[in-house]
């Protein structure tokens, strides 16, 4: 059992090893974060003032960079005044893990700062709704069109050249236009997610559909399947598991457009929460909110993966995952 045992090309790992590695893939970055946060000599470029001494602008808990602190310390020594004391610290934008975990909890328990503000869970719910509608609308157009384009060359030739062009246009560029057309509330946000997802979706799904083994269609035809029935009885069931997998990946892309989308018009949802917290330098809350998005996204994907296995018991590749 040497090290080489771990590096066999494309080998199947035992499920214990797989789980262990999955845990490690999360533990490694967390460990790194802990090291940087709790071990003083790794980074800690700032000093956190615990006693201002006679430095007139120092305050308790103020962060100053090391050079300034040393300068002031020398000044006070020369002048024979009371010396300030401080301990090494990281900049404000890198809170320690425990602070973020704490914020993660308190974010849900603290009421919003302003009277008309939203709780964190309300902000999240807004975001989820925007994603949901954006992805649903995109899929309602993109999936059928993609399947048709992958099946019939005529559809592919008619739509794909333009889509190929349009997908290079950055979705956020349509922000102002979307606001002008759809108002300042959820409309333009949903539109940005649709624009960001739809064009990729059509192309990806058309490609997946084209990958369906043509001999299956030939077999169906020799069994007396009419051309019209081929789509419904062979193409669609044949590509369904791959289509489902594509949708999972595309949903991830839709999430990446969320932040830009929510900045358009009146900012809302989790993005509003994040920008608010950042403005007051509550970076622990910012991290907590970002973490939240990650957790929601990942659990959503895991749920869909699990569901996929149940839905397509005949799909070999999915069942191996």
């Amino acid at each position: 059992m040497g090290l080489s045992n771990w590096f066999v090309v494309r080998q199947e790992l035992s499920s214990r090893r797989k789980k262990g590695l999955a845990v490690a893939s999360f533990l490694l970055p967390i460990l790194l974060w802990c090291l940087v946060s709790y071990v003083p000599f790794i980074w800690h470029p700032m000093m956190k003032v615990s006693e201002p001494g006679d430095v007139d602008y120092f305050q308790v808990d103020m962060l100053v960079d090391k050079v300034t602190y040393r300068q002031e310390l020398e000044n006070m020594q020369e002048a024979g005044k009371a010396l300030p004391t401080a301990s090494p610290a990281n900049p404000i934008y890198l809170p320690a893990p425990h602070a973020v975990v704490e914020a993660f909890y308190t974010a849900f328990t603290t009421p919003p700062a302003q009277r008309d503000g939203l709780w964190l869970h309300q902000s999240l719910w807004q975001s989820i709704q925007v994603i949901f509608w954006g992805f649903l609308i995109s899929s309602l157009i993109g999936v059928p069109l993609g399947v048709l384009a992958g099946t019939y060359t005529v559809v592919s030739r008619l739509f794909e050249p333009f889509i190929e062009f349009f997908r290079y246009l950055p979705a956020p560029a349509f922000g102002a236009l979307a606001v002008a057309v759809l108002g300042i509330y959820d409309g333009p946000k949903i539109a940005i997610i649709v624009i960001g997802t739809l064009f990729q979706q059509i192309l990806v799904i058309a490609n997946t559909t084209r990958k369906l083994d043509y001999s299956l269609l030939e077999a169906a035809m020799t069994l007396g399947t009419s051309k019209i029935k081929l789509l419904r009885y062979v193409v669609i069931p044949g590509v369904l598991p791959d289509l489902y997998r594509d949708q999972r990946i595309l949903l991830g892309w839709a999430w990446t457009y969320l932040i830009v989308a929510e900045l358009i018009g009146t900012s809302s949802g989790i993005t509003w929460f994040i920008t608010q917290q950042a403005r007051y330098e509550h970076f622990d809350n910012v991290y907590a909110a970002i973490l939240m998005i990650g957790i929601i996204g990942l659990s959503c994907d895991l749920l869909l993966a699990w569901l996929g296995k149940r839905l397509f018991p005949w799909n070999k590749s999915a069942n191996k995952e």
Binding site: S215, E218, M221, T222, G224, T225, P237, G238, W314, K316
Partner: protein
Amino acid sequence: MENDMDYLKQSDAVKARFDKIKQREVILEVKGLDKVYKTAKGHTTALKNINFKVHRREFVCVIGPSGCGKSSLIRILAGLESYSGGEALLDNEPIDGPCRQRGMVFQGYTLFPWLTVRKNVMFGLEMNGATNEEAGREVDLWLELVGLEKFTQAYPHELSGGMKQRVAIARALVNQPRILLMDEPFGALDAQTRAKMQSHLLEIWRNIDITILFITHDLDEAIYLADRILVLKAHPGEVQEIIEVSVPRPRNPEQFNSPEFLATKARLEALIHPAEKTEHKDEPDVHIPSRMIRFVNVEDNVE
């Protein structure tokens, strides 16, 4: 030394059988069939002036070197490929596109992975508007015939190659086609499974009203199965000879060493692997040098 023409000798029983076959109506007729593939690199004549007839309940094998157009021929007959000239008639109707009258079994199984074995076999009937109940009864019958009644609810990926091909055969036959077209159906199977499948296919053929056109490149398989063997030659694909197999029926594996079998095989070998140097016409790039560079130690000999 035996006579080269021994393969033409037929016992009275065999001759009588062939006379009887020729009495039956012609199901498939191919007249002056041509197939030219037009590609960016130019034209390839895959088939040239192919003529033959197949009678009802006849078992015809097509054999020939790689690239002689066997697959092209059967795909044209299945309606999956167009042809450039001549005629292909099924029951005197020109073949135009695929239909259930011409069932096909492919080398690559082509089962629908999302359907269970039972649903796969039922597919053709459902596409042609049979009710679930009628179809179900038919299908169960067929699954029993191919010995898969225990696997009705299995998915294709859970089956072995031989089992998959049995499903494919049942799936084609449940439609009651006039002719069953098979393109190297057992090519991917191991020798043992293959032998079993051959006997099984003969058994099925004996018991139902079906005409079979079977492509293979295995000489033994062709002789074992066929009434007649259509021998094609390559570049361009032309009919070289149509051989009436003189091995009596019912066939069994012991006949592999019978004189008729060996004579027929000798003839096929002479046709397909002629002794002259026409060989390199098939594969222009491959020639084995007479002297090779030695990559091992002089003392390290294997012979």
